[in-house]
């Protein structure tokens, strides 16, 4: 067996065990309660019946989470540069940034509906609010965590402030930025789903996974609810994979978190 195949084997075995366990659990429940935990065939059926609707909803939620995520990454990068530029700015702004994270979405939601109206823009704003904080905190930390020796080098080289920021602090902060990005990638689909639930558009064909879950729940379609959860999970995995790929591209050649290849 090739070593590559051998490496893929454990997760595959685990997946088999998981599915078998799932099916077993369904049958272990008393008959009257089995509807709470659908069997695999029931789940497959739910996918078949609701497939197109789920796919459409997943598309909307994916777009909204990507939108909120990208917006948060962009604004966080800019805000971090600002925050790292002076202690005064940092001390002044930090409490408000924390406040931004602390405002409960459930309170923001009705306000957003009044201001922006239900739909994608509101969903993107909520996703932004949820993913922004870990990004800005990590990136700022990275911009400030520069080795003193490197700062001395740049001072010796009589670097301008912008040169120090762009040529030294920004690349040094990349690993921290990607740590924030990973956390944000996990939060974004959850955020977008929750946001859709709270401020999503209910008009036909434009709702995301949150509204879909709401409808399934209202109609007591338990397998459909499970199917929605699976799709939500898949979205999260997809986004995390994209971020991991980007991190690899940016860091694997020089950062210690990637073992050097024998090139």
């Amino acid at each position: 067996m090739s070593p590559r195949l051998l490496r893929r084997l454990p997760p595959l075995v685990l997946a088999g065990l998981f599915l078998a366990g799932w099916q077993g659990l369904h049958h272990a429940l008393p008959l009257g309660r089995r509807f709470l935990f659908p069997s695999l065939p029931q789940l497959a059926e739910a996918f078949e019946v609701h497939g197109p609707a789920l796919l459409g909803a997943a598309g909307h939620t994916a777009l909204a989470s990507l939108g909120g995520f990208a917006l948060a990454a962009l604004v966080a990068a800019g805000a971090s540069l600002l925050l790292a530029s002076s202690t005064l700015v940092r001390q002044a702004l930090y409490p408000y940034l924390m406040g931004l994270q602390m405002v409960p979405v459930i309170i923001v939601a009705p306000i957003l509906i009044l201001w922006v109206g239900p739909g994608a823009p509101s969903v993107i704003i909520v996703t932004f609010l949820i993913t922004f904080f870990p990004l800005v905190v990590n990136t700022t930390q990275g911009l400030l965590s520069v080795e003193q020796a490197h700062l001395d080098l740049f001072r010796m080289g009589r670097a301008a402030r912008w040169q120090e920021l762009l040529l030294l602090r920004a690349p040094a902060a990349l690993p921290y930025f990607f740590t924030g990005l990973r956390i944000a990638a996990i939060l974004a689909p959850i955020g977008a789903l929750t946001a859709d639930y709270l401020v999503g558009s209910t008009s036909g064909g434009r709702s995301g996974l949150g509204i879909t879950a709401l409808l399934f729940s209202a109609r007591n379609e338990i397998p459909g609810l499970y199917a929605t959860a699976v799709v939500g999970c898949a979205l999260g995995f997809a986004l995390v994979s994209i971020v991991s790929g980007l991190a690899w591209l940016a860091l694997h050649r020089w950062h210690d978190s990637y073992t050097p290849s024998d090139s």
Binding site: E147, A149, W254
Partner: protein, 259 residues
């Protein structure tokens, strides 16, 4: 006629705590162009402080200091080699060597020329495309040296540059440094803990004494250049190493009560 000193300190003093004792000085020192001056002394004698004052990283508390007649921190052809290689891990060797030139807005073609020349001097041309983590400790230090040499410096300040390396590599780099000096004329101020290294490299040795840092001995090293492996076995060399060691021991504080 005596040439004007390149590095000129007059009653130079530094104290970090305004109410506390002086870390360094008042100290007078004149270094002529072309000298290779090693600075020896026990920990806390202000060796690194002296270097940082000359580089402009620190501002003196009192006294006068000029390099080529100008205030510190205003020279384009003064280079500093740190104790660690301080390479930027995200840049390839070639880009690391160019870093200081880039900060000075040197045009790309001129940057490439100086980078290639400097990498040639430290014999690392074939590693130009490597990342720092792919290099050994000695190679990293040579890249760090190349980065300083790319400035085509008039003054080279070296703060224990080989301190973290094993003795073999250290001896080797010392010989290389002298070989480079034969091709690129700069004036060096070299801080070290190794008496043998100081004698081997320098034309002049300063022994500093602590509390406050001051020049206790100022010795000329009259061994002919070029120096090589043979030099290390020469009686004059061995006699000088013994003499400098004895003088260094004499300025070391006898009791370690301060520690």
């Amino acid at each position: 006629m005596i040439p004007p000193p390149l590095i000129h300190c007059q009653a130079l003093a530094k104290r970090f705590d305004p109410a506390g004792p002086a870390v360094l000085g008042p100290l007078d020192l004149a270094v002529a162009p072309g000298e290779f001056v090693s600075v020896l002394g026990p920990s806390g004698c202000g060796k690194s402080t002296l270097l940082r004052l000359i580089s402009g990283l620190l501002a003196p508390t009192s006294g006068a200091l000029t390099i080529a007649g100008r205030p510190p921190g205003t020279l384009d052809d003064l280079a500093y080699v740190f104790q660690d290689a301080t390479l930027l891990p995200w840049l390839r060797v070639e880009a690391n060597v160019e870093t200081l030139l880039r900060l000075r807005r040197v045009p790309a073609t001129e940057r490439a020329r100086r980078r290639d020349a400097a990498l040639g001097l430290v014999r690392l041309t074939e590693k130009a495309r490597a990342y720092p983590r792919q290099l050994s400790g000695g190679q990293r230090m040579r890249v760090s040296l190349a980065r300083a040499l790319a400035l085509e410096p008039r003054v080279l300040l070296l703060d224990e540059p080989f301190g973290a390396l094993d003795e073999m590599t250290r001896d080797h780099l010392g010989e290389e440094l002298l070989a480079i000096r034969a091709r690129q004329a700069w004036t060096a101020l070299f801080v070290t803990h190794s008496v043998a290294e100081a004698v081997f490299l320098s034309s002049r040795i300063l022994i500093l004494a602590p509390h406050p840092g001051r020049i206790a001995h100022d010795l000329a090293v009259e061994l002919p250049y070029p120096r090589n492996q043979e030099t290390r076995r020469a009686p004059d060399y061995l006699r000088l190493v013994a003499e400098v060691s004895a003088r260094l021991r004499a300025v070391e504080p006898a009791e370690a009560s301060a520690a």
